[in-house]
């Protein structure tokens, strides 16, 4: 790479200082010291060199705000290279970042504050506080605070651990080194010490430590390339410019002084406005002059800039916010039942307090004589009421006390258990090697920890196409050159894999990617441009190599003699074309702002890039004006077929055009992406005219983009066709199979793509989304009326369809969606779409994607999942119930917004069918079980209260009551929630239909809730009344009977869980039996404390016969009804899951295909029937 001498170019920049103070208009002369082997062609004094990046910066100019004067109040003033003065008035934030929330000192108060944002904890706290009032003290002080303290403690440990990890990563980030100008010399400095106003030098492949305004770069034009992948997820290189006025600055030699007045820090990463004053020259700065923290410098040796925003004021940090938190469907439904439970709670409390009121009224006169009540006290020598505040207050206190006693009716511990279970489930999802992407080395990521179970209930999958279904790796497949089709399908077998390489300075240059080349075409390309055909081929590949914005980057390879060229650019299509051109001997070797070097069949040729009209969505094509070595000036253009045939001179070679059109049709029906390439030679007059208008347009202050577009359309006309290219958009591995499984599972797959209709349909075919027997309904209307008509017709069609007729595929484009979404037509589209087997939306804008997801989400209760990889999928991912990001090529934007991220589309199958199914089943059961577990305990206390004169003496000691949901019965449900699984992975993957259990809400629904509650009532009656009847009229004391109940309830709830466990592994065994043993130990310990009333009670009660008889009878009698119901439903109306379990156990799966009896219908048959 040749570097420009900055001093030399400064001479030139002086001469054009008047032209623009806004942009780095590059009027530098092409006196670049070119590589020696290049034949230098100079256009002499054609004036200022056409600016390669003209239209690009014109667009950035479109922000149009840089002209505005920045208000003094809203501005920050930066003295370049004078951080002391800069920070004198206002202390700007330092460059150290802190993503951690707490420090050691603030941890306790802040963490508590954060935790009490949860309603559940407030409830806990309120109950604990109530219990501290002397009138209401049901439990001992310590015992009542224990559960809350435990929960807070566990959460605090979790938070502390997470924060510690953030502290660690912050520390690593903050101690990275950057080169900073100190006392006229660049020295290494830790990132955290960088201050606003300092001058920073960043070299190639380094990450920017803060937001800097560019002063100069290694490129003589002041251009610098950056990769913004960490910021907006786009992997392509973006160009940034240093101001012409500061280009020559060498801060190590001369002292640079000046000021920058810029806006206050904000989070707009695409906007920036500032004024800079250097040496008395004033200029304004725009978004193209700033490089943001987190970007990586590429393809540029170094840049020098001034730090303007640091630390948390950088745009990257201001933008770093997590994805919006979602709440799982199951949890929403659970909250509905929790409201019911709180009604139960109120009902129980009302019953107790009413009965107490009745008792009080009936015994009003006796209160003072009742030995167990004794209203009056004479202790202080005079008569007064003891702990009695009138009947109304007494009833009220009774109510409050019963709330305290029955508090666990609301299963607060459930929230904690659910969080722990989700962490456990996430652990297993992350550790699943079946969801590990080999090619990108990315593991599955669980970014949201609260919607694991939603994965088991998905009914709609909205998928992006590019990068999600397809790899976004384009492969050049075939070309049609001058009406001749060169499809290298036949040749692909013996295709050359070595790839083309050229020798430079004893080193071989080779493209990084190898392309299978058609040997015949290769031979013809080598033959030179003697023949007419050869010339066409030459021009065709020249166009491929030149007409793009690809930047070649040289890299070392394993072999010392070989260097590799990596083509980097915005569009993967262009990359594929350039690689293809290289394979045919047209290797793009170098690109600077003014010229490109192409190695044409071993001969280095230098082309001057006189002008480049970038792709825009109106023209749908791009063109480049090249000054060729033979002094001719040529326009090369490439673009979509529709856009190109409009500008092609139809009078020339009609048969070539029609042949090309035929080939295009063939290519696109194969699912290839097509581009048409055209060319025209400009004569002197045309060139002059273009050049003057181009220059005028690119230096225009207002409406530059529109003017450039007009210039482009003037020159892109009367082109002659060179040919067309077909690029294969490779499907990702396993996509068709996954889509088929999803459909089998009753999930509707919608593909939303920005691609054109034909491409979308062809991808639909290749991914088996659309099959040939489907009826296609295509809606691409350009007005609301026709849209309405078309929808109506389609609706009629779908309604008149009989059972056996073919399924419908709906294809609708973005234009029609404009009329449909947010209008009354939405409803019709919804009706139509819900009838269709497949929906393909093409040419949709990012926001439309979100609109389509919302269309389904708002009208049905069905769960939606959106999967995508690009920044354009972010809105869709955030709107859907579950957002999945593909951590692939297009960067991290989608991943950042997603709830789950994974490497490939096909992981959707294990994610939904295996983990989603398990998570849903586990969580659904766990919620019901926790309701039961707490309610049975509360009912036990309630029944006892009825036998204590409604005074809320607890049957079970304080400590046991509190430990019940903490130690006695919490671990089994958590472990079962993490480890139990109803069916094996193999079965679930093999029969996606089993996924229907989650869609039909089989594991958690109101019916199950009520059944559980009735069961709970029965179990609590058995649990309470068997010991009661056995010990009625005996000498049993309260503590002994309490111990019996404690043990009985714990054994009961654990056996209840045991009965429902599907897979018993050693951990589950350990935890279930361990809990029962732990309970016995705890009860013994509690009863071994002499100070408590229940001292030694458990040993006494254990020595009596009825104790053991009760302990045996209670669980059996309590569970008989449940057992009968379970057995009967499993036997008489078995669900799919049950059948599959049986088949798994007894091996009837294996006889499939073995003959005999009814077999599982093979998946392909099923597809056809559907």
């Amino acid at each position: 790479m040749d570097l420009n001498n900055t001093g030399e170019s400064s001479v030139h920049s002086d001469s054009i200082m008047h032209s623009s103070s806004r942009r780095s208009i590059s009027s530098y002369h092409s006196r670049t010291s070119a590589a020696n082997s290049v034949r230098e062609v100079n256009f002499g004094d054609l004036g200022s060199r056409a600016q390669t990046y003209g239209s690009k910066s014109a667009e950035s100019e479109g922000f149009g705000t840089s002209r505005k004067e920045i208000n003094d109040e809203d501005a920050r003033l930066i003295y370049i290279n004078d951080p002391a003065k800069t920070n004198e008035k206002y202390e700007f934030s330092s460059n150290s970042i802190r993503t951690s929330k707490y420090s050691i000192i603030t941890f306790v108060p802040r963490n508590l504050f954060e935790q009490f944002h949860r309603v559940a904890y407030i409830y806990f706290l309120a109950i604990a506080i109530l219990n501290q009032l002397p009138q209401l003290a049901v439990f001992g002080r310590g015992a009542s605070i224990l559960p809350l303290a435990f929960v807070l403690f566990v959460s605090a440990i979790k938070d502390a651990y997470e924060d510690w990890r953030r502290h660690r990563s912050d520390k690593v980030e903050n101690s990275r080194l950057a080169s900073v100008l100190v006392n006229g010399q660049f020295q290494m400095k830790q990132w955290k010490h960088i201050q606003v106003g300092e001058i920073i030098k960043v070299t190639s492949n380094q990450t920017l430590p803060c937001d800097i305004v560019l002063l100069s770069t290694s490129d003589s034009t002041g251009v610098a390339y950056v990769q913004t992948i960490n910021l907006d997820g786009e992997s392509n290189l973006k160009s940034r410019y240093a101001k012409q006025e500061t280009l020559s600055v060498n801060p190590e030699k001369e002292n640079i002084g000046g000021t920058i007045k810029c806006e206050k820090p904000n989070r707009n990463i695409y906007g920036f406005q500032a004024n800079m004053e250097v040496d008395g020259k004033k200029m304004s700065l725009g978004p193209s002059n700033i490089i943001l923290r987190g970007c990586e410098l590429k393809n540029t040796d170094w840049v020098i800039g001034v730090a303007v925003y640091t630390g948390r004021e950088t745009k990257a940090m201001l933008n770093s916010s997590g994805s919006p938190s979602k709440r799982s469907r199951l949890e929403t439904q659970m909250n509905r039942e929790i409201i019911l439970l709180s009604l139960f709670l109120v009902a129980l409390c009302t019953i107790v307090s009413t009965l107490f009121g009745v008792w009080l009224a009936r015994h009003k006169s006796e209160l003072n004589t009742l030995p167990y009540y004794r209203k009056k006290t004479y202790a202080d020598g005079h008569e007064e009421d003891y702990n009695y505040s009138g009947w109304a207050l007494e009833i009220f206190f009774t109510f409050l006390m019963s709330v305290i006693v029955f508090q666990i009716m609301i299963p607060i511990s459930l929230y904690i258990s659910m969080e722990i279970v989700r962490v456990g489930q996430a652990y297993f999802m992350i550790r699943d090697p079946n969801m590990y992407a080999e090619n990108s080395h990315s593991r599955f990521q669980c970014r949201a920890l609260n919607i694991n179970e939603d994965l088991g209930q998905i009914k709609y999958v909205f998928s992006d196409k590019t990068g999600t279904l397809t790899e976004n790796k384009m492969e050049f497949k075939c070309a049609s050159i001058y009406g001749v089709d060169y499809s290298n399908e036949a040749a692909s077998e013996q295709a050359e894999q070595v790839g083309y390489s050229v020798q430079v300075d004893g080193q071989a240059l080779r493209p990084k990617m190898k392309v299978k080349a058609d040997p015949e075409l290769q031979r013809m390309a080598e033959s030179g441009k003697e023949t007419h055909e050869g010339r066409q081929i030459h021009d065709f590949f020249l166009a491929l190599a030149a007409c793009n914005t690809i930047v070649p980057i040289l890299m070392d390879s394993d072999e010392p003699t070989v260097r590799l060229i990596d083509y980097q650019g915005e569009s993967p299509d262009e990359q594929a074309l350039v690689y293809a051109a290289a394979a045919y001997g047209f290797m793009l070797i170098e690109r600077t702002s003014g010229h490109i070097v192409i190695d044409v069949q071993g001969e280095r040729q230098r082309f001057d890039v006189l002008g480049l009209h970038e792709f825009d969505s109106d023209r749908k094509r791009m063109s480049v004006i090249l000054g060729c070595p033979d002094k001719s000036v040529k326009v090369f253009a490439k673009g979509a077929d529709t856009a190109m045939f409009g500008v092609i001179n139809k009078s020339l070679n009609l048969d070539v055009i029609s042949a090309t059109e035929a080939h295009l049709h063939k290519y696109s029906s194969l699912g290839l992406r097509t581009l048409v390439i055209g060319m025209r030679e400009l004569n002197g007059a045309e060139f002059e005219q273009w050049q003057s208008s181009y220059e005028a347009a690119s230096t225009a202050l207002l409406g530059r983009a529109a003017k450039l577009r007009r210039v482009a359309s003037n020159v892109e006309k009367n082109l002659s066709t060179l040919g067309a290219s077909g690029i294969e958009d490779k499907l990702q591995e396993g996509v068709p199979e996954t889509i088929e499984s999803l459909r089998l599972a009753g999930i509707k797959v919608w593909v939303l793509t920005g691609d054109k209709q034909e491409t979308a349909i062809s991808i639909g075919y290749s991914s088996k989304l659309v099959t040939s027997e489907m009826t296609q309904i295509i809606i691409n209307s350009s007005s609301k009326e026709s849209c309405r008509r078309r929808l109506q017709e389609a609706l009629d069609l779908s309604r008149n369809r009989t059972m056996g007729s073919s399924p419908i595929a709906l294809i609708i484009d973005g234009t029609s969606l404009v009329y449909v979404l947010d209008s009354e037509l939405e409803e019709e589209l919804f009706l139509l779409a819900s009838d269709c087997a497949v929906v393909l939306c093409c040419r949709v804008a990012p926001l439309q994607k979100a609109g389509i997801v919302a269309l389904i989400k708002n009208r049905t209760d069905d769960m939606t999942l959106a999967i995508g990889d690009g920044a354009n999928d972010v809105s869709m991912i955030q709107v859907a119930d579950v957002g999945v990001g593909i951590s692939g090529q297009e960067g991290r934007q989608a991943v950042m917004a997603s709830d789950f991220a994974m490497g490939q589309f096909r992981f959707l199958a294990p994610l939904l069918f295996v983990h989603g199914h398990w998570n849903y089943q586990r969580m659904g059961y766990m919620i019901l079980y926790n309701f039961y577990r707490n309610a049975v305990f509360v009912f036990l206390l309630f029944w006892y209260t009825l036998f204590t004169d409604y005074t809320l003496t607890t049957a079970i000691t304080d400590w046991s009551s509190m430990l019940y949901s903490v130690i006695y019965s919490s671990l089994p449900t958590i472990v079962v929630g993490i480890l139990d699984k109803d069916l094996s992975r193999t079965t679930l993957l093999k029969y996606p239909q089993l996924y229907g259990a989650g869609q039909r809400e089989e594991c958690y629904n109101p019916k199950l809730f009520w059944i559980t509650m009735i069961d709970t009532l029965w179990q609590s009656i058995v649990l309470y009344f068997i010991p009661l009847a056995a010990y009625w009229k005996t000498i049993v004391d309260g503590s002994s009977l309490g111990d019996l109940w404690t043990l009985a309830v714990v054994i009961l709830v654990n056996l209840h869980l045991a009965m429902d466990i599907i897979r018993w592994n050693w951990i589950i065994h350990a935890v279930i039996w361990g809990s029962i043993i732990a309970t016995i130990i705890c009860v013994i310990i509690i009863d071994a404390i002499p100070i408590l009333p229940g001292y030694w009670a458990v040993f006494h009660v254990m020595s009596t016969g009825p104790f053991w008889l009760c302990l045996l009878a209670v669980p059996i009698a309590a569970m008989i009804p449940r057992f009968i119901v379970k057995v009967s439903t499993q036997y008489f109306c078995p669900g799919d899951i049950q059948i599959a379990r049986e088949a798994e156990k007894f091996g009837s799966w294996n006889i499939q295909g073995g003959g005999g009896g009814i077999e599982m219908i093979p998946t392909s048959n099923f597809l056809q029937r559907q």
Binding site: P371, Y386, Y436, F947
Partner: protein
Amino acid sequence: MNSNATTTSLGTGSAESSAPRRNSKRPKYSRFTQQELPACKPILTPRWVITAFLLVSVIFIPIGVASLLASRKVVEIVDRYDAECVNATTKSERVKYIQGPGDKTCNRTLRVPKHMKAPVHIYYQLDNFYQNHRRYVKSRSDEQLRDNHSASEVSSCKPEDTANGNPIVPCGLIAWSLFNDTYSFAINNRNLTVNKKGISWKSDRDHKFGKDVYPKNFQNGTLIGGAHLNSSMSLHEQEDLIVWMRTAALPTFRKFYGKIEEDLQANDVIHVTLKNYYNTYSFNGKKMLVLSTTSWLGGKNNFLGIAYLSVGGLCFFLAMLFSLIYLVKPRRLGDPSYLSWNRNPGGH
């Protein structure tokens, strides 16, 4: 520079060239992380269901029979005396009687229905007395009972914490309401010795009621709740108090009074002389005197036997029922034709 990437060629990928380094992020395989720990997957097959029901009935029916037999063997004499021992019909008169002065001796005769083997336990049974009332159960001080130096630990004893400005030992409602009816027994004018030693729990005597704690200031207040205590006997020896302080779980309860350490013959007539001091009249409570032998099951209680027999019987019936069902309507387990999508192909 990523050497791996450079060797990657388009299309073919380079899975075969995966170096160990490449697998560094790949989750390690283990049976645990794969959730494939060896596990037992019980399924409720007909055989299992019938076996389970039969097993329960086989265990429960003998236990039920044994319990019933044990209960039948227990000989129990229950004599309710609260009404008969008061010469009054209305509640207020009874209360007046019990609170008034005078001799409250009452004579009862009991006939022994069957031979009662020694030791015969003597209980008193109270009814409608809520010893589990929360005002009541809380009103005690375990520190004070245990330790001589904690005599003033009476804060939890309200409303019987202090009398005349001094702390009461033992304080609290429970101790204050100590049962004070007494019984003496005679057969054919021969007095039966009632052994009142060892009626309380040894654990209570040893660890909850201190040997050096003596009653102080007890029943000195305005209201007298129940028994007076011999202030020269340490609480450790006051077994009636210790028994009483172990509050009953349920509102109908018995308390150990003593033991008769000799056999009682069938048709023996026992003369009971009792002092009817305790006021249950103000809350319509019943008082009963109970003489009972014991078995491994405790006292006479048919409930457990009946419960066991019913559960066992029900399970036997269910076992039969399910056998019948499985015979009449068999279903091949794991038969794929029962799967919803096979039963109803294409139907949605």
